[in-house]
């Protein structure tokens, strides 16, 4: 078996790739559903219904998609410059902590500032917390050549333990009966609901708006050009006089900030406080979302809705037919691997037999 580069990459193939990957994934996972002893057709129908079958279901899917859009963007931006940020999970948690630090400590009095000022401050703090956490790995990559994948991964564990430390100590909610839970933020700082009697909040608009902004940044600005050039060929970019190091650092700040904002959104839009299980792996799912979208910021919104739908649908399906909801994680992981292969096939042709 060997690969042969295609002379041109067809636009149609690039657009079809994610759908082919998802179709392949669902076919493979059908075997697992059957193994778990459930009727495949009915299981998938229930999954779809759980995700989109009612006003409430759609609202839940969109609520779940909100942090996923942001972690997906975080991965998409970083991967574009070949900065492999695998630390979005930790960045999300630190962003959430920062939101509580600004909006929740001192009984949410917010250092005497009015909510109109405190709200942007809370967003900025969350973004800064996430950005700073990625700055270290990015700097180490540039200066010492330390692989950022391993450092950003390891920092996830450190960040989560730091959150646990804060929830035991300075940010502990004394009313939570011993549950590790932070104090709540000032209700004036919470994001408004978008649909009555559901949990969809204005964070969805913020996340979608940021997707457009990131797309425009990449498409139309000098920084965006440098970002794409560094990702395409860092040596050529340096030779052409582009500031490679600065671009990578800025990219790290942007990526970390997006993941940090995902944490702020979860605090201000959904829970109001931080818990140790507030993210069921949103950071890691962001990588899958970015890959499914072909790293395109607008595509990220669509693939985040897909992953959110799989998660919400699997929960509801699991209650009905008893297939463990871990099937959602299996689907997401398989989709990632399938998408890697599908993307490759848009650029290469497989020839069987020896050269």
């Amino acid at each position: 078996m060997r690969l042969e580069a295609r002379s041109r990459v067809s636009r149609g193939a690039v657009l079809v790739a994610p759908f082919a990957a998802i179709a392949f994934t669902l076919a493979v996972c059908a075997a697992l559903v059957a193994w778990a002893g459930a009727p495949v057709g009915r299981t998938y129908a229930l999954l779809l219904e759980g995700a989109f079958g009612s006003r409430f279901a759609i609202a839940e899917t969109l609520t779940r998609a909100t942090p996923l859009i942001l972690t997906g963007l975080a991965a998409a931006v970083a991967f574009r410059a070949r900065l492999y940020n695998i630390g979005a999970e930790g960045q999300l948690y630190l962003g959430a902590l920062a939101a509580v630090a600004v909006g929740g400590l001192h009984d949410g009095s917010g250092f005497g500032l009015p909510p109109a000022l405190l709200f942007p401050l809370m967003l900025a703090a969350g973004a800064a917390a996430g950005a700073l956490l990625l700055l270290g790995p990015a700097w180490l990559k540039l200066r010492l050549g330390v692989d950022e994948v391993v450092t950003s991964l390891l920092l996830n564990f450190v960040a989560l333990l730091f959150v646990s430390l804060m929830l035991d100590g300075p940010m502990k909610d004394p009313m939570a009966m011993g549950w590790p839970q932070s104090v709540a933020i000032n209700p004036d700082l919470e994001l408004p609901r978008l649909i009555e009697r559901t949990r969809v909040h204005a964070g969805l608009l913020l996340a979608s708006g940021l997707a457009v902004a990131v797309w425009a940044l990449q498409r139309f600005t000098r920084f965006g050009f440098a970002l794409r050039a560094v990702g395409a060929n860092a040596r050529a970019a340096r030779f052409a006089g582009l500031p490679v190091g600065r671009t990578v650092l800025l990219c790290a700040l942007l990526s970390g900030a997006l993941a940090g904002l995902a944490g702020v959104g979860e605090v201000a839009g959904r829970a109001g406080y931080v818990t140790l299980d507030m993210s069921p792996g949103y950071g890691y799912a962001g990588i899958v979302i970015a890959m499914l979208a072909g790293l395109h910021p607008l595509g990220v919104v669509l693939s985040a809705v897909f992953v959110g739908a799989v998660m919400v649908g699997a929960d509801s399906m699991s209650r009905a037919v008893g297939v463990p909801n871990y099937i959602a994680d299996v689907i997401v992981a398989t989709a990632l691997l399938a998408m890697l292969v599908a993307t490759l096939l848009t650029r290469y042709r497989i020839r069987w037999g020896r050269a």
């Binding site: 180490l140 010492l144 050549g145 920092l155 691997l337 993307t343």
Partner: protein, 315 residues
């Protein structure tokens, strides 16, 4: 200060400290050797974290269903090898990103293990248990190190014995030379008539089998049950340890022992009701791994073709 130093001295001289160190080091030794073999052939294998979970689960499940402990270990190795074969197909033959494919393998293996665990045991409140490997009490009589070894299981001794074996394989056999060539200069290796893709594929399958066994140590020796988050970053730590070890088996053993000694020390300090919050102690292994990467960064002699896919006729 003197108090602290003397209690530290007492700890290092104590048998339980060394017993814990060797036990903590075992999965790290196996996992680090696994990563080392893959990377010597030029392929990063970030699937380790998930492969360890999958190995821990399948090995334990086989024993739970009545297989012998050694059969369970073989099942775990086979599980690892299968995951490795998938990683090899993706990264060596299809040449997709080694970073992302490895993460994908980790996500897939972890979620499959959780899924299969839930399907096999739909309603259990306490995790079912097995009878794990017994300590080698017969070694008690060896002078000096006897009391430490007598608390270990055969897997720990096996893991340590594997280190010189791996070194001999890598530096003294034709297959080891082929492995190193595939990781340093695949084009030259091809020129010598080697099939680089096959060498790399075999290295990943073999290395991943070791990773599966590293996971199985947790369920078949260190504990007696399977927990979903029991690997808890040990795989990533192995990836860092390989850099720390400069891709040498002997140094990998040293790194794993050093690292495990720190971990055993922090566990002890935690139990003694240390003055600091317990989370700070738990952070130590991860922080140490990052520090090890930073310290070794300037001296790291990466295999020259690490993370570079090999496509025939392409430069």
């Amino acid at each position: 200060m003197m108090d602290f130093l003397s209690s530290l001295g007492d700890m290092i001289a104590s048998v339980p400290f060394w017993v814990a160190t060797l036990r903590i080091a075992t999965p790290l030794i196996l996992g680090t050797l696994g990563v080392l073999i893959c990377e010597r052939a030029g392929v990063l294998n970030l699937g380790i974290e998930g492969i360890m979970v999958a190995g821990a689960f399948t090995g334990w499940l086989a024993v739970y269903h009545g297989a012998g402990l050694w059969t369970g270990l073989a099942v775990a190795a086979l599980t690892g090898a299968l995951c490795g074969a998938l990683h090899a197909l993706l990264t060596v033959w299809l040449t997709v990103s080694q970073h992302v494919a490895g993460l994908g393998i980790t996500m897939l293996a972890t979620s499959l293990a959780s899924f299969a665990y839930r399907v096999s045991f739909p309603q259990v409140s306490t995790p079912p248990t097995i009878q794990p490997f017994a300590p080698l009490a017969a070694l008690q009589g060896i002078p000096l190190i006897g009391p430490v070894l007598a608390e270990q299981t055969a897997l720990t001794l096996g893991a340590i014995a594997l280190v010189p074996l791996a070194a001999w394989f890598i530096y003294r056999t034709p297959a080891g030379l082929a492995l190193r060539m595939a990781g340093e200069n695949p084009a030259a290796a091809e020129g010598q008539g080697l099939d680089v893709l096959r060498v790399r594929g075999a290295a990943i399958v073999g290395g991943s089998a070791l990773m599966g066994m590293a996971g199985a140590f947790l369920t078949l020796s260190a504990f007696n049950a399977f927990f979903m988050n029991m690997v808890n970053g040990r795989g990533w730590i192995c990836v860092a340890l390989v850099v720390f070890a400069s891709w040498r088996p002997g140094k990998a053993l040293l790194g794993a022992l050093l690292f495990a000694a720190f971990d055993a020390a922090q566990l002890r300090l935690q139990q003694d009701g240390g003055a600091l919050p317990y989370q700070l102690y738990l952070m130590l292994p991860y922080v140490l791994s990052i520090l090890a990467l930073i310290v070794m960064a300037r001296r790291a002699a990466y295999p020259q073709a690490l993370m570079k896919p090999y496509r025939k006729g392409e430069r």
